[in-house]
Subunit: 197 residues, 4 copies
């Protein structure tokens, strides 16, 4: 009847095996085929154990992706905002394209659309703090004069990464580097420092 199992006694082995199996199955057979039964079987872990520690399949994948996703602890600040934006957007694209993480991540995005609670988890654990880093960098840039003083950063942020999500969601080809350059260029035209001419 333990509602909150004692995490200290938890076998780390089963936790890691579960997360690994979940990711692998997403890679090999797709998000839909990564059923809890299949994950348990591959991990050599019982379903009961899985459900003791995670409330649903999506929670497993969320944790797996969270743990495996590269966390750029500090946002790059080379002094060249455009270059930094490109690095940041490339990093996001990298997660979508990552052969190990991509299928799981996009699966989570899909399920989030039908599950507000999962969406919240996803935002909090995978997305918001990354966006916050970007926001910080841009705020600094605005203060530095790298951006116009009246630059609408909230909209600019949305505009920068939303196309990736939309293209993924609708199976349009994901942006390539050229596209990212054009995107950044457009945004910089809009919120860059006022023309000197």
């Amino acid at each position: 009847m333990t509602r909150t199992p004692n995490p200290d006694r938890r076998r780390d082995r089963s936790r890691r095996a579960t997360l690994a199996a979940a990711l692998e199955l997403c890679v090999e057979r797709g998000y839909a085929a990564a059923t809890v039964d299949a994950i348990a079987a591959r991990a050599g872990v019982s379903k009961a154990t899985i459900y003791r520690w995670w409330p649903a399949k999506s929670a497993i994948l969320l944790e797996a992706v969270d743990e495996a996703a590269p966390i750029p602890e500090t946002f790059p600040d080379t002094g060249d905002l455009a270059a930094d934006l490109l690095a940041w957007l490339s990093g996001i694209l990298g997660v979508f394209r990552d052969p190990h993480l991509g299928p799981a991540f996009t699966g989570l995005l899909a399920e989030s659309q039908l599950d507000a609670h999962l969406a919240q988890q996803l935002r909090e654990r995978l997305i918001d703090h990354r966006v916050a880093q970007l926001e910080e960098r841009m705020t600094k840039a605005r203060e530095n004069g790298e951006l116009a003083a009246d630059a609408d950063l909230e909209v600019a942020l949305d505009v920068l990464h939303s196309p990736i999500y939309r293209r993924q969601a609708l199976h349009y080809p994901l942006p390539d580097d050229t596209y990212l350059d054009r995107l950044i260029s457009l945004v910089m035209r809009a919120i860059g420092p006022a023309h000197t001419d």
Copy 2:
């Protein structure tokens, strides 16, 4: 037997009842609860009939949304591009927010993320031609001098509507009119005609 039933003989009653029931169930109980069994039961139609005409639940809803979605036959061209963009974006938002269509449409978006074929159908039947109208309007605007001669329309288009999809997908609040104004303003700053001042 007959793999491809004869559409001429189709009962219109059952077709309309099925589409209506599918939309209603999405509204009342959500996309996930709109099972084929439930749709058949509510429509007073047999499952065999449904599967005769649609390969899956998503196909029913795609057709239902397609048929019920307001089709702005001609893109508004008031001469004021910013106003036209606002109208267009509001129209898209309207579909997401439509109490009758929204649940079904967002459910389709979610499922598309896991199903490339459905995504293609969705793009072709619901999205691409609407975007094409906007593209046409913007191309004309660029020729008219309403936009900069070197305006990157492809990126601008993406940038204009992608935030709506991303916000919906992650259950962020959908944009309001103020947001749309700021978005359009940002884009116009980037691709609007060169300043004369």
Copy 3:
């Protein structure tokens, strides 16, 4: 709305094609696979036509078997009762074993077990009058002194042909000629004329 179709206007072609198709399907794929849809398709006849003239699949096959079954118009009376019984029992066995009729007939027997009305039809159209012929022959034999005066003909009749049905029903091997001889011999011992020796 014709409740009782006019038999005069009936197309003989569709009737014969239906009966033939039904029997063939029983032979080729078994009674269960001889669905009304399959019969209609093979006969080149519409299901509506079939249901206009027959209330159910079993009725089709009943008619088909009835028409195709060899009807020994007169019971053989060679003067040798044992020989006549053997001929009669062989005739019954012949229907079970007939490659053309057997599957349909045994299918009807099976379905009769679950459907009292069909059982009645089967008895009336295929069985009772054949048994009545035997009964008549035996009654005559009793009068002739070929049988004991107190011979229990009703039980003797039952005993003579019931083993065939039971063996068929439970997929025991059907009786062979030796068995029939022994069976007749046993019955004749019981109801034959009193020993003179």
Copy 4:
């Protein structure tokens, strides 16, 4: 996954509830209406569980009848063969007439006719060993001089119980006690000890 589930882990509750529900539905609504869905619903058991343990509806009922059928462990041997035969035949008739078992048993008999494998199961689990008891009794009787030394026991056995099956199969009235007396009397005349007169 597990093709052959581990019977040790089986929940006895669901097994018994399933068997009971199957029999009850046969009694209340007939063999045909005892669908797997209905059995599952009444038993409070999921269809998956049923199909894990039984391959088909008939297997459920076979097991249910087998378990519920009274098994006369030892064939009665009162010294009076005719009386013993009557008891044995009455026992068989009892199963057909049993308000609890009859519908299920006759349903199984019907289905056996179309399904050789089921017929084999039915013979092995419900019929053959009962018949073997009778055969043993009669063999002993022949050795004792209760029967003629040359009595054809195989045919006699067939003859004794086949009429019950045939009458049931074709919905003739089942034999009553008088009939059984006459039947036994006929058989005893045929294979009883030689006349002394």
